[in-house]
Symmetry: C3
Subunit: 297 residues, 3 copies
């Protein structure tokens, strides 16, 4: 007898932790597949903040085992005509409202199939108009984890909605304009400027937001970046930070620094402090990278 | 060989997430039944808020698989003479302090037995006076999940404490006075006026707060309500909302609406906004439903 | 065939619940050991607050089953030269940055071995400088749960970093000066004065912070303390509380009391209220215990 590996189902919602919504979804899943391993990615997304959700899902999905079912319910359109889709890629399944939540991910995971959910056989028998997390997402995820095929869930479609994800822009040689796309608990300012963009990106080219797979991390080291840009100068508001650090403790406690964060994006931080408070900035604010023009090849 | 389904134990407490109390309970459970599937319903109940807890437990319990053990520790009387009880219903077990936490549930789940916990054999060997979650609730729940019978836990009693649950009142024909019993993360105002009450309730009758089982949902649709009350007018503070929506997006972003929420109660919301802030109201505040008198049969 | 007990891995971090950091760690663990039972102890530690973490870990670890792997990532020095260590005691494994997180625990659990992690075979293949929770702690914990021996992880060392844990001080006979080491969600003020210290401690002796094992709890009851100190008077700020209560409800709602809390420390509380707000105090503030000098033997 083989004991099967329990399938992982992840949950990312804006339901918060103060109500019972997340627990209810887990109840529905346990009723259908008692062996599923349900893992919370995050439930404290600001209500209906699709951009932050897209970033968080992107920063986490690839650290889960193959065949994980990633469920994201940040869904301002619940009950309206927006679709719910099951997207299968080489390694993962995604179950999301079709509102752009996968905008970052589809840049590095090519969808093998996109199915619009229509088969109510896999929904709860009675469907509310306000809590599809419970009535649609949870039961469908549980059925997927039992081996139901995406094709059984509905109708194949060809395209996903895309967010207008902000990409870094090279205004002129040696000057890249990015913006803050996420701020974490520690006040670290995560920008849309990727490690790869710093190495390969030039003015005219579309910046790439891809290949953050664990085994790709080492390929582009800080050293590689620095071999191209001897000095990197980051301007945020009226403040300037010179150089690229390897870790938070490269700066003195309370001092600002810039590094490549754990998800592969350029990040502005304060060692043992809070960069959001220090710089008084918010998501969407500009971050400008100036590279010593003489050293750009 | 049959691999048994892991039994589900749910936890609902006011312990918050900033201390280790919930984790400790899970440690105790894992030590007794390593295969139990422990699911958090909510731990962010305002300290000692029995009313909110009763609502949350009611809104969630039935979405869990049969034989789930629901543990609720919102317990201002910890260490005093209040009882801890194990209540068995047709499908579930409840382990709660006897302080009214089951007030909504017993209106739809008839207790088969109520046992007052006295058998310290199932408690931790040394019993503190301040943390019964760890010393009593967790180990007893774990033992129940291993097949211990409620009867082994203590002494049968006949009655449970009841909260003075506020019921809607029909002041005169076509005018129902309810109140806000819960406000969720999104600021949605959940009232004590149920879908069923709107359909069946008349002045003299006791309103029913029951039959929210998933398969009962479709039986009373919005259409049914509307066939009875052509127009429903909701007054909250000095503001009036006309009509009953099906889903949040029936109103424009920022606009108020009234719908039947996912737990079956009349709910006042703002599409993509926060109704609590919009109306500046709190739990306990009145919500008045005026139905077009001409259409009431 | 024997179905193995799933090994428990606990997580205590300062990552908060608003980002995906904790979920990512669980993803990494599930990829290596899909049968591990991951339990959250706490993730809401104030950023980089090692003292609170040391207390929370101490108050919880012993309630988990034998062979549990306790992982604590509160790590202001991430990426710097601080070590990550695996500490094995008679019953448990601890995986922590070597920054004093085990300061309370090593007073009661003698380390059998302390290993400094060096074997990158058990890390993620590419190692970031900023997220060792994901790249080191999670994979190493998962490998330990599969039976890897601490000795395989790195190099044996002899000593752990210690925090300067504040101990109570007996200034003169009958007057003990302690301080608040932790404040929980309810505003309960947990001091560094242990039950044991009250019974055994005298002026010159080093206070003991040990032996809180569940089965040791009953050995030192409130009665035993009172037989020594007939009346205990606690001063906090300018307020005085007379007597030692057994449980919160020994005082009237809104009234202050002093008791031995669930982790074995003297605790100042308000029945159904918040002692931190009531006394306007914070961690580190003094708490003075005056015992009726006539009754001290």
């Amino acid at each position: 007898m083989t004991v099967c590996r329990p399938r992982v189902i992840t949950l990312l919602t804006d339901f918060g932790n103060q109500d019972a919504y997340v627990g209810i979804m887990k109840g529905v899943i346990a009723g259908i597949n008692p062996f599923a391993n349900v893992v919370d990615i995050c439930h404290s997304i600001p209500p209906q903040d699709i951009f932050s959700s897209a970033y968080l899902l992107y920063s986490s999905y690839k650290y889960f085992p193959r065949k994980t079912i990633h469920v994201a319910v940040v869904d301002p359109g619940v009950g309206s005509r927006r679709d719910i889709v099951c997207v299968e890629t080489k390694d993962y399944f995604f179950l999301v409202p079709d509102n752009g939540l996968l905008s970052y991910i589809v840049q590095e995971e090519r969808p093998k199939s996109i199915i619009r959910l229509t088969n109510s056989k896999y929904f709860l028998p009675s469907l509310s108009s306000t809590f599809h997390g419970r009535d649609v997402f949870a039961p469908v995820a549980a059925h997927l984890s039992l081996g139901v095929k995406p094709q059984q869930l509905g109708i194949k479609i060809n395209q996903l909605e895309q967010l207008d994800v902000p990409n870094p822009v090279q205004k002129k040689a040696g000057r890249v304009e990015g913006q803050i796309i996420y701020i974490d608990r520690f006040g670290n300012l995560i920008t849309n400027i990727t490690k790869e963009y710093l190495v390969k990106g030039t003015g005219g080219q579309k910046p790439e937001v891809r290949s953050m797979k664990p085994d790709a991390f080492e390929k582009i080291s800080k050293e590689k970046i620095l071999s191209k840009y001897d000095t990197i100068e980051t301007t945020i508001g009226k403040k300037r930070i010179v150089g690229l650090s390897k870790t938070y403790t490269d700066a003195k406690p309370g001092e600002p620094l810039v590094l490549i964060g754990s998800a592969g994006f350029l990040e502005v931080s304060i060692n043992q402090g809070n960069a959001q408070k220090y710089f008084k900035v918010d998501k969407g604010n500009k971050v400008i990278i100036k590279c010593n023009p003489g050293t750009i090849r």
